[in-house]
Symmetry: C2
Subunit: 691 residues, 2 copies
């Protein structure tokens, strides 16, 4: 079926069914800048000069039993010119020199693009780039020379991540024309305007597509990021260049949060060292904490606006959102696009949400409470044993229930996460963003209750501050250790085992020939997929909860979180570079729903801290006669603090002044340009004016 | 200096200094639709066919000692073609046939425009109009035929208010070219890009400019609005057509608020009739009130989005804001526009705000508290007299302090308003919107404290619910009567006196000739200027406060507010039509800062109502042993209600689904159009693609 050409180094081929030309190319990952030199050295041969060699940027993996006509059709559509509705990209099959029992999937393709096409694509996706005058402007090919870093033919103008994002966008928006189904698959229905890639993906024909790592850049990035053990800021610009804005913002937030916690940690240390038990000191700490958490979140908004402006994502318009890959329903007409597409009545979705998902979540919350009560029974049992026979063994036993509970909480969170994903997918949301919001809400509520319920119970029902402190410490330390192991080290260990296997197989397949691209694609195809920043933000959210909710009884929490986050930066950086497939860049202007989640947590923190202060014996001592007066005063202070918080959030502008000026300038210039154009047009058609 | 041509009916003239042609035109207000017929009937004569007769839409009044060269220059700039930087409008001087001792200001001009210019202006200001497919789209002259109501040459396409708004916009954006100063006024400096009209206005050369009433439309509007005394919705569409979106939204809100109060009023009546003193009934009422106030505001957001969509203001972009007329500072370069303009350091403004305005506001608040304490002294004195000698006279005396206090409050509010305006102007804000925000904030805080402090004092310090009810009733009724008198009837009475005088003078000037336009312009020039919806919204805000804050002790408040608002609609409609100058249309997409103000009030209402319920004897009876438990439960309920309120506000979408779909469709279509255009351009320059 497929013609294969061996040139001794590594082979690409075109699908030849419909007379397309075949080319062979070295299986070498070629950094774009050094493309030409390496081409010389390796002696590449091309059987056709029309489809020239290219830097492979994205890997497409189709199921290994995909029908040949479907492959031909797909490759044709990807290569076809834009005016014919194609993506006008370069794509070639990756072929292996020999077959094997454990033969790798032959249907692996690499996609690349000409520079010209990428620059046009950059305009399509609405990329913002730095202009000559230092402002950020929407890139247009016509004005390319006016952009700051555009030199020569624009070789280094787009970062790797941007190129891959553009290719992803072009592949995603490759739409069916008049095909009624995918060739070879009469059941894989299509309709004009349907995204081809989404349909192939949802039916399992397209297994995955992902961007390739760039080994040289990766080496440079990982060196500057986590290989030098010295105190320095993270190379956010490099991270953004390599992984895109979404991930860079996460690491920016992680760094900002950690630095913001340092003063809290410094103030917290003497409380622990000198065993300060005076509650008036705790009151001080708590007030500081309240102001800190509000200012921290407000200032972050400004920082993130600054970062996003510099990265061109702040003023960039969101692209029109496609339905998710898994969305299904009866064919109908979309009222917005007028296209035929699946329609799923939102009333049905509401029914599923309110009759199934909400009860399920409530049930899980009940279960979580039940587990909590079992934990307290265990706790009392351990204490009673310790009191009967106090020795080292029983004093260690005191910590056992907390540790078990922490492990159980982690497991429950994990299981619930899968259930929530399943349920949210079953709710059949049309848009990925709506899916994400419902998933985040479900997971957040459960995680909040699961992680903090026992602490609230100890604090306000049992009113046992010693136990609260001990539980906090155990929870914090256990969940930190568990997290780092589950997140980075376990996947790394699995990955290394897999790598060795792949390496061995490749050696067997190709003897001692050097086939870096083939091997790299094989390795990366089998790497785990990074599922987005969700879990990373969730972890920070819970840590923020530990610090802000109960800080006034356990000031050391900040110290623990700082220590955790320092290792977290390294392990997260490591897992991005070596454990997971490279993710597609995600243009983000802010941390999205997480800003709201953190703000909600900081409001709950005001209530909790006020209540904890009200419960403290020192404060109670000021009102020996009646609790009533104490409670009224605490409630009044709480209301004032909340009002102050809202006013502060309202008064601090979300975008720093100098960014506001730049945004206004952009808007003003485009208005002026529009006006000039209109006057020009009016002058040209001046004869109609004087009628 | 001026050549005047009398043609026996009424005369316009051009300024002839620099050889401009003179025309004469009947002083008749001509409805555009009937222009041609009336032209025939009245036998108009034109000395020049180039500047043809036109419907006068806007009146410009310059100071009567304005230098002739300044007038010539201004009229030239207004008439000049757009490509020369002019406004390309039609303008003529209004002349009086005879002189008099009490001679009217001769420097009154009427401005009009050709239809063509207005349609082009509609595109400039970004007017949204209904498209053939029922969606709202930005009007463009090129696509004019595709808009729904565009028939023939587009005669009736733009409403009067829209035409006047367009003329205002064109006058406002008439910019200085290379003039260094206004001709004849070496001290009236100009710089390129400065708005000419703003400069003339701030220096008192331009006294005012305002849109003319259209007598026929006004008659029709006032008939359908307030002249038929039957229960019906207000003609919001007609109001919008005549007065613009800002005012129509106010009347829409007023109507919506009144209707929303009707169920509250119905529930409130039996409380009063049957003297229900059971607090459990009040608790019910209060809970109902809380849910009502949240839902009411959320639903209004949706209503206003629907109205604004239909009026084309929802998706319309805000025009770039000019500096206010009164803004001053040293000349510098605006970082946004790059133009030379006055710059005032914001640090100086901050100093003025924090060192002068804030202390002043605090002082006023203190004064307000002081007056309140005096009122309570008076109150106690009246009660003691009544107790000494209870008869009819002394029982009437019981109400006197409240009435005096209500009057004093109104006077203080009025005086404070002037002070706040002066202070905010002195703060020298660059933008009108920023000026307005600071003014609203100042006035709101003071009005809130001034109107409600005594009620809070009675409710929570004195805990005298009888007195609270009585004070509420007195405050409500007194302020209502005062408001209606001050707002509508007093100005109307003054206006009528003035009208008679003008009428008499005109009779003397012109004998028994009919000069409707001349007389109309004279009358309207001397009418009061409507200062915007600020006071009207403020009144509704305070009424909302009376209803929502203390409803659970005085359910009749809703009834009183409904009664007030029914008369308010009539008196407001009347004052707009007959007491004030016609205001320029104000494109508004929502009620702006007032939505926030009402929402804040409804949050305060949750706190107040919970506290009032906690104070009620019936609720207290449930917790005979300890107040502590009661307070904790009330506080817990309050927190739950507040959380519920926030969640409700978050869950209810601000824009109804079908409007969202239409907005998305608009965005989608423009994206598609852009894409098509790009592919077309790419095809045209196809040769660069295959390189």
């Amino acid at each position: 079926m497929f013609e294969r050409i061996y040139n001794g180094v590594g082979v690409y081929t075109n699908n030849c069914l419909n007379g397309l030309t075949s080319v062979s190319l070295s299986g070498q990952l070629i950094a774009r800048a050094t493309l030409d030199q390496e081409k010389m050295q390796l002696g590449l041969s091309f059987s056709d000069s029309d489809v020239s060699s290219f830097t492979p940027l994205v890997v497409l993996e189709l199921a290994d039993d995909t029908k040949a006509e479907a492959i031909t059709w797909l490759l044709n559509r990807i290569r076809d010119k834009q005016q014919n509705g194609g993506a006008e990209l370069l794509v070639n099959q990756l072929l292996f020199p020999a077959q094997d029992d454990q033969k790798p999937n032959p249907n692996v393709f690499v996609v690349g693009s000409t520079l010209q096409r990428l620059l046009n694509g950059a305009e399509d996706v609405g990329l913002f780039k730095e202009f000559q005058d230092g402002t950020m402007r929407g890139f247009t090919y016509a004005n390319r020379e006016s952009f700051k870093d555009f030199n020569g033919d624009g070789e280094a103008f787009l970062s790797d991540a941007e190129c891959q994002y553009i290719i992803k966008h072009e592949l995603d928006t490759l739409r069916a024309k008049n095909e009624e189904h995918v060739p070879g698959y009469p059941k894989l229905k299509l309709y004009p305007g349907k995204s081809v890639v989404r349909r192939l993906q949802s039916k399992g024909v397209l297994i995955q597509y992902f961007p390739l790592h760039n080994k040289e850049d990766l080496k440079r990035l990982s060196f500057s990021w986590y290989k030098k053990f010295k105190l320095s800021f993270q190379p956010l610009e490099d991270i953004r260049h390599y992984f895109g804005e979404g991930l860079a913002l996460y690491f920016g937030f992680l760094e900002y949060f950690t630095f913001a916690l340092v003063p809290m940690a410094f103030i917290g240390i003497p409380y622990y060292l000198f065993d300060w038990e005076d509650y008036d000191k705790y009151v001080l700490f708590s007030v500081f904490n309240l102001v800190w958490s509000t200012v921290f979140l407000e200032v972050w908004k400004r920082c993130s606006a600054m970062l996003a402006y510099g990265w061109g994502t702040l003023s960039r318009k969101k692209a029109f959102e496609e339905p998710r890959a898994g969305f299904h329903g009866a064919l109908g007409f979309n009222p917005v696009t007028g296209r035929e597409e699946p329609i799923y009545p939102s009333s049905k979705r509401q029914l599923r949400i309110y009759l199934v998902s909400v009860p399920f979540v409530l049930l899980c919350l009940y279960l979580s409470f039940y587990v909590m009560m079992v934990y307290f029974d265990m706790e009392f049992w351990a204490i009673s044993i310790y009191h009967e026979n106090p020795n080292i063994a029983t004093s260690i036993l005191l910590f056992v229930p907390s540790i078990i509970y922490a492990v159980v909480i982690e497991i429950m969170n994990l299981l619930y996460r899968y259930a929530a994903e399943f349920l949210t997918a079953w709710e059949n949301h049309r848009l990925e963003s709506s899916f994400q919001n419902h998933l985040v809400l479900k997971v957040l509520v459960f995680n909040f209750v699961n992680c903090f319920a026992s602490l609230f119970y100890i604090a306000f029902v049992m009113q046992d501050m010693m136990l609260l402190r001990q539980s906090l410490a155990t929870l914090l330390i256990t969940s930190q250790i568990l997290n780092q192991v589950m997140e980075a080290f376990l996947p790394y260990w699995l990955q290394r085992r897999r790598n060795k296997k792949v390496h061995k197989r490749m050696r067997r397949l190709m003897g001692d020939k050097e086939l870096p691209l083939l091997e790299q694609v094989q390795l990366e195809t089998e790497m785990n997929t990074y599922l987005g920043t969700f879990d990373d933000y969730l972890e920070q959210f819970l840590l923020f909860g530990y610090v802000s909710l109960f800080s006034c009884v356990y000031p050391l929490a900040a110290v623990l979180v700082v220590l955790n986050n320092i290792t977290e930066i390294y392990s997260d950086a490591f897992k991005m570079c070596h454990v997971f497939k490279r993710p597609f860049s995600e243009p983000a202007a802010n941390i999205g729903v997480w800003q709201l989640a953190f703000e909600t947590m900081s409001i709950i923190a005001v209530v909790t801290n006020c209540a904890l202060i009200g419960l403290s014996p020192q404060v109670k001592a000021y009102f020996p006669e009646s609790d009533t007066q104490l409670i009224l005063i605490v409630v009044a202070i709480e209301h004032v603090l909340l009002a102050f918080k809202f006013i502060l959030a309202f008064v601090i502008p979300d975008v720093p002044k100098h960014i506001q000026v730049k945004l206004a300038k952009l808007e003003f210039d485009s208005l002026e340009a529009l006006k000039k154009r209109k006057i020009l047009e009016a002058t040209e058609t001046g004869n109609t004016w004087n009628k």
